[in-house]
């Protein structure tokens, strides 16, 4: 048990280091131009350039540069945005995180509930028009760019039909903290939640249906039916419970990626000041320290979530528990 936990931690550390190297290489070793100019931002003065070069050690070998960067990100946490007049990057990210977490958690609740319902119904009515219809709907969800869907939602609810009874409750774009005004928080986030959830409802309902259909031909499903259990119980208690294992591992990764910045497009379209939007702003001013910090932040999040998924996995599947 202890060795397996240590092994797991070691792997985590390895992936984290790997990601930091990858991010570092992307930003500082891409062939083409001087990273100093990238850090300093557009039209930086020669003095700024010189300061950046010394501060990040760009005149020294790559490993030193890497160490410097990691120190700035995790130890001293004084990575500075030159574009944004010396604002510290790490606190800025910590401030934006609650917005992203609110957005992603709500969407996750919606997509898990909807996709389980859709997947189970489709699998139970396999081959019927209901099944085909639900799966085609899922495919449409998968095929819709989220930023465009957000725009259309805004168009309908903020402008075209905002005056109608259906959408008059929709507040303007922006974010309201949960602690200040729970109802406002809910109202402002409901549409972003739904928009973000659409893609994942599509993916998850299709994955779950496929798993449930595959599990139908398993021997233990036949045993369950031979025991005289009702079809609903067979499908939910035996089929769904077993299929949930893949579902959960998928969920952990997607959730982590979204919290780690994958929800960027939704945040941008709905004007939510989260981590993703921060990255977006960094994009528009070519604020590399900011972007790099957010990417690192997301990677850390993904790796931690990966470990969490593995633990849940062990809870869900006794075979994994013993195998580890």
């Amino acid at each position: 048990m202890v060795t397996s936990v240590l092994w797991r931690l070691g792997q985590m550390l390895f992936v984290l280091v790997g990601i930091s190297v990858l991010v570092f290489l992307v930003f500082f070793a891409t062939p083409g131009a001087d990273p100093t100019a990238r850090i300093a931002g557009r039209n930086a003065s020669p003095e700024t350039m010189a300061r950046v070069r010394v501060e990040y050690g760009f005149d020294r070998p790559l490993p030193v540069q890497y160490a410097r960067m990691m120190e700035k990100l995790f130890v001293t946490r004084d990575l500075t945005s030159y574009v944004n007049r010396g604002q510290k990057v790490v606190p800025e990210i910590l401030e934006a995180a609650p917005v992203t977490v609110s957005l992603v958690s709500g969407a996750a609740v919606i997509w898990v509930v909807l996709s389980v319902v859709m997947g189970v119904i489709a699998a139970a009515l396999r081959g019927s028009w209901v099944d085909r219809g639900l799966m085609m709907l899922g495919l449409v969800g998968i095929s819709t760019p989220v930023f465009w869907l957000g725009q259309v939602v805004n168009l309908v609810t903020q402008s075209r039909y905002h005056e109608s009874w259906l959408f008059s409750w929709v507040p303007g774009l922006g974010y309201v903290p949960l602690t200040e005004d729970p109802l406002g928080w809910f109202r402002v986030l409901l549409l972003p939640w739904l928009t973000l959830a659409v893609l994942f409802v599509g993916i998850y309902s299709r994955v779950l249906r496929a798993d449930l259909v595959a599990v139908q031909s398993e021997d233990f499903m036949r045993t369950a039916r031979a025991k005289g259990l009702s079809p609903v119980r067979v499908l939910l208690v035996h089929g769904l419970r077993t299929s949930m294992i893949t579902f959960v591992s998928l969920f952990g990764l997607d959730f982590a990626q979204l919290v780690g910045g994958g929800a960027l497009l939704t945040e941008v379209v709905f004007g939510l000041q989260g981590v993703g939007r921060l990255t977006y702003q960094g994009l528009s001013n070519l604020d590399l320290p900011l972007i790099m910090a957010t990417v690192m932040y997301s990677a850390v999040f993904v790796v931690v979530a990966n470990a969490a998924v593995d633990m849940v996995y062990a809870v869900l599947d006794p075979r994994v528990r013993d195998g580890g």
Partner: protein
């Protein structure tokens, strides 16, 4: 076999849609099973043994499948029974155990939980009572330390223990009929013998009849009172096991018996095998389905032979009616 008839199957036909048309997998299978009797159904894979048993359980759920004929259990017609009524019967009066005990238990629940589940599906008793019955059953099935085993997950048990647990689960509601689909195929030989012992003891201890499905003539000889030989979804021969082994009436039965290695006497260099493979259901010839592989084939085989009485058995072959039945063969000691 004396005693009242528990199960009477008449002209059972199961047709599944293959390539857009209904193909009869099992055709006009008839047999009866008395109380406390063990009937063996033998055949190669693809002969329709499992489909027959699933049809009796009402578990054929391929969309578009058609089950016709009659299955009477305790005088009650099962074909066309309402799903809800069937469900109350399954697991309670007719139970089934499967070939591979590894995959037949749901991997994410403990063995005890799954046995409890079956008990509680049919009887309104508390969790605690169900568990104590589960532990008792496991003990009866020869499981050492049953309390602990009940708390184990399927993958933590050996194949033999799993199959014992499977049988315990099947017996948990005292079924009158137990269908065992190749219960020993996936097990070691020694464990196989123990499980067969267990099955033989059931009629004494639980009063259950057993329908034993197998491809192994040795298992049949050791265990079954009567035997039904299926070939390509049709009955080839049926009758008391002893008679069938001593004087097989169908060339297929005889060929099956020849392929068992003898226990005594000189060992043949090579066991005789039946050349070729049985026809798939959609390519089954209009005449005798075994004609293609039979050494006795002649013109009369172009018409499908009906089951006729031949000694103690019923045989679907023209040879006995033509007055030239197969010769009696050497009877292995273990079934004399």
């Amino acid at each position: 076999m004396e005693g009242d008839t528990l199960l009477a199957v008449r002209d059972l036909t199961v047709a599944l849609p293959i390539g857009g048309r209904l193909v009869p997998i099992v055709e006009s299978v008839s047999f009866t099973l008395g109380a406390r009797e063990i009937l063996g159904i033998v055949g190669e894979s693809g002969s329709g043994k499992s489909v027959t048993s699933l049809a009796i359980m009402g578990l054929i759920d391929v969309p578009g499948a058609r089950v016709s004929g009659s299955v009477r259990f305790r005088g009650r017609e099962l074909v066309g029974l309402a799903p809800r009524t069937y469900r109350a019967l399954r697991g309670r009066e007719i139970a089934m155990i499967f070939q591979d005990p590894m995959t037949a238990f749901t991997p994410v629940y403990t063995v005890g939980w799954q046995i409890d589940e079956q008990i509680r599906a049919h009887q309104k008793i508390s969790r605690k009572e169900a568990r104590s019955r589960t532990v008792r059953l496991l003990g009866d099935m020869g499981v050492p330390d049953p309390e602990q085993v009940a708390g184990r997950y399927p993958h933590q048990l050996s194949g033999g223990l799993r199959q014992r647990a499977m049988i315990a689960m099947a017996l948990s509601c005292n079924p009158a009929l137990l269908i065992a689909d190749e219960p020993t195929t996936a097990l070691d030989v020694t464990v196989q013998a123990q499980i067969l012992d267990l099955l033989r003891g059931l009629r004494r201890d639980y009063g259950s009849s057993v329908l034993l499905i197998t491809h192994d003539m040795g298992v049949v000889a050791e265990t079954c009172d009567r035997t039904l030989v299926l070939y390509s979804g049709l009955v080839a021969e049926r009758g008391p096991t002893g008679a069938l082994f001593a004087r097989p009436g169908h060339p297929y039965t005889a060929a099956l018996l020849d392929s068992i290695p003898p226990l005594h006497g000189p060992r043949p260099k090579r066991l005789p095998s039946i050349s070729g493979s049985p026809p798939t259901p959609d390519e089954r010839p209009a005449g005798c389905p075994f004609a293609l592989r039979c050494t006795h084939v002649h013109e009369a085989c172009a018409v499908r032979p009906p089951l006729v009485a031949c000694g103690e058995q019923d045989v679907a072959c023209v040879l006995p009616t033509e007055g030239r039945p197969l010769p009696p063969r050497f009877v292995p000691e273990f079934c004399a």
